[in-house]
Amino acid sequence: MIGLGLPRGFLVTLKNFFRTPVTVQYPDRHVGLFGAAKEAGMNPFRFLVKRPGDSIKAIAGLATVPVALEQSPRFRGNEFTFYEDRCTACASCAKYCPLGIIEIVSVPGKIDAQEGESYKLEVFDIDIGRCMFCGLCVEACPYDALHMGTKFERSTYVRDELVLNLAELNAAEKKPSSFYRPQFEEKAFDPYTETIDDHHDAGRHERPSDEELKKKWVDER
């Protein structure tokens, strides 16, 4: 029962012993003195002199360095990026959702006289407690108003806080993921470092310039 197969297995394991570990130590990684000094951007000797408390902590193995996960720009995160100015309350997203967790209530009202009558969006609730982040709502939106976000740490202590209402969606940081949004990929937009705050930049189509708009809606009327 003993042959050469077992020692070959040992060699494989030994070879893997010397490879660097593939662990991504999210959210923070313990560093020694050299790592802490590199994080601070200093020479280790200067670090030892200038920050003795931190260097003692680093030597004792208590210093940590935050680690970010590598994600692709198309990652479907646990949050949504919503541009209210682009939304017309057509509720395509609500119709497309397999779980039916988007609630949209809109009332007619004269908001923007230049662009005609439009609907006022009163309630736009997404229940991310039950959402499966399939992205069908994002695929459905014809006006590129709703985009997937990229974050995934959305735990709360109270379940009711998981229902995102319009105010929260508007106040959130606008970092849309490139999921089903080829315009962001063409611009090489990185949702992990940049934001898109102007709703005119979030769309697939070029917004016509003010002169062209004036020509179309005012001059030629």
Binding site: M1, G3, G9, F10, L14, N16, F17, P21, H30
Partner: protein, 443 residues
């Protein structure tokens, strides 16, 4: 036999330093002890307390470090870091585990025999600690150098069998007893190869005392007795119930093990005893086969011992990480049909060589090494042929065996080959649909 060597134990050092001129210490020049004349009992008690404190705490500390080290090594073998959160480099992880274990509820089953149930962890931990009494950790650092040291070790490690059976029986759990039967079968099957493997070492050193064995190793016995170290290593891993022989603690094996009913710290003691057994086995292998604390001069002997111990522990952990588990019948077959014969071959060859060259010189050891290695390789190969089943070595399929023909379309030459002909399908492919332009209303 060097009297100063025999008399140099740690216990005797502390006692004589405290007691002074009393009986037994006159051979050495302890003219004035630290305590006044008639208080040998106090010296005795203090020496005993010092030894117990030093050894027990040292070993437990070693176990704590070993648990951490083993988990880190597991991680590195598996391309991941091990635990590195608690304390510098995660060294306090075992402390956290111990605290967690202590806080669990200590459940005693209703049908359990309470006295035996509570006694079983003690029965398993005590022999594990007792073994360390005869092991020299360096020059002069041992508790006692019995002249039947090896026999003492073998006898004491056999007590774990009784503890396992007691633990299972006292749980009052039918399935635990079944699991314990398998474990006891494993343990007693591997006692014999383990003991017989050491007979060669004893014959070479001329005595069973561990101090003498270390003295006799002008070259380490791992080079001289390869069969013995091979058999002893495998048997010792089976005695510790380590992979590949960890069938009793496998989660995918029986749903309960003999330890199933043990809750918080009692289970913790079983766990600790297993790791203490690991350290003691590594220490035994170091002393008997690697030369103990012998090494080159500038480095202190304790460091040599420690380095060799860590090397043996690394090899044990490496084996644990790499090998899958064996089934109980394969385990028993290996012990009785494989290792037993190898030990007999080893004893015979060693005895013949000692009869030819009776003086214990280094040259004799080199000759034995030269003879024993080919004998070892040939006998291991022969025994493996005896044990194995034909056809078991071949990873590839048997290309001559008939392939089952399927009654529907026969693709010519149906065997492992590249399909060059397009398959004939009975199901229409999607592109043949008639109306591919569908007018759908709405969005």
């Amino acid at each position: 036999m060097d009297p100063t060597f025999l008399d140099n134990s740690l216990w005797r050092n502390i006692y004589c330093n405290l007691a002074g001129d009393s009986a037994g210490c006159a051979a050495r020049d302890y003219s004035a002890g630290m305590l006044p004349g008639g208080m040998e009992w106090l010296a005795f008690a203090l020496a005993a307390a010092a030894i117990i404190g030093l050894f027990v705490n040292g070993i437990l500390g070693g176990v704590i470090v070993l648990i951490w080290g083993e988990r880190r090594l597991f991680g590195r073998f598996q391309n991941r870091t091990g635990p590195n959160r608690w304390g510098p480099f995660g060294m306090l992880t075992s402390v956290a585990d111990a605290i967690k274990t202590m806080f669990k509820e200590d459940v005693v089953p209703k049908d359990a025999d309470r006295i035996l149930f509570n006694l079983a962890p003690v029965m398993i931990a005590a022999p594990a600690l007792l073994v360390f009494a005869v092991i020299p950790f360096g020059v002069g650092t041992y508790v006692a150098d019995l002249n039947v040291g090896v026999l003492f070790i073998m006898a004491v490690t056999s007590l774990t069998t009784l503890a396992v059976l007691t633990a299972a029986w006292s749980s009052g759990n039918r399935i635990a007893i079944l699991s314990a039967f398998r474990s006891v079968a494993l343990l007693i099957s591997y006692e014999i190869p383990m003991a017989l493997a050491l007979v060669g070492v004893i014959m070479l050193a001329g005595s069973m005392s561990l101090g003498q064995i270390i003295q006799a190793q002008s070259i380490p016995f791992i080079l001289v007795q390869p069969l013995a170290v091979f058999v002893f290593f495998i048997a010792a891993m089976a005695e510790m119930a380590r992979a590949p022989f960890d069938l009793t603690e496998a989660e995918s094996e029986l749903a309960a093990g003999y330890l199933n009913d043990y809750a918080s710290m009692k289970f913790g003691i079983f766990f600790l005893a297993e790791f203490m057994a690991e350290i003691s086995t590594s220490a035994i292998v170091t002393v008997l086969f690697l030369g103990g604390w012998r090494g080159w001069e500038p480095v202190p002997s304790h460091l040599w011992f420690g380095a060799k111990l860590i090397l043996v522990l690394f090899v044990i952990i490496w084996f644990r990480m790499t090998l899958p588990r064996l089934r109980i019948d394969q385990v028993l077959k290996l012990a009785w049909k494989g290792l037993f014969e190898l030990t007999l071959i080893n004893i015979v060859v060693t005895a013949v060589l000692i009869a030819i060259w009776p003086e214990p010189t280094t040259t004799r050891l080199w000759i034995m090494a030269a003879v024993n290695w080919p004998v070892a390789i040939i006998s291991i190969w022969a025994v493996s042929k005896l044990l194995g089943t034909p056809g078991y070595d071949d990873p590839q399929p048997d290309l001559d065996a008939p392939v089952y023909p399927v009654a529907t379309e026969q693709i010519p030459g149906s065997a492992v080959h590249v399909s060059s002909a397009p398959g004939t399908g009975t199901q229409d492919r999607v592109s043949g649909a008639a109306d591919s332009h569908i007018e759908q209303g709405g969005n």
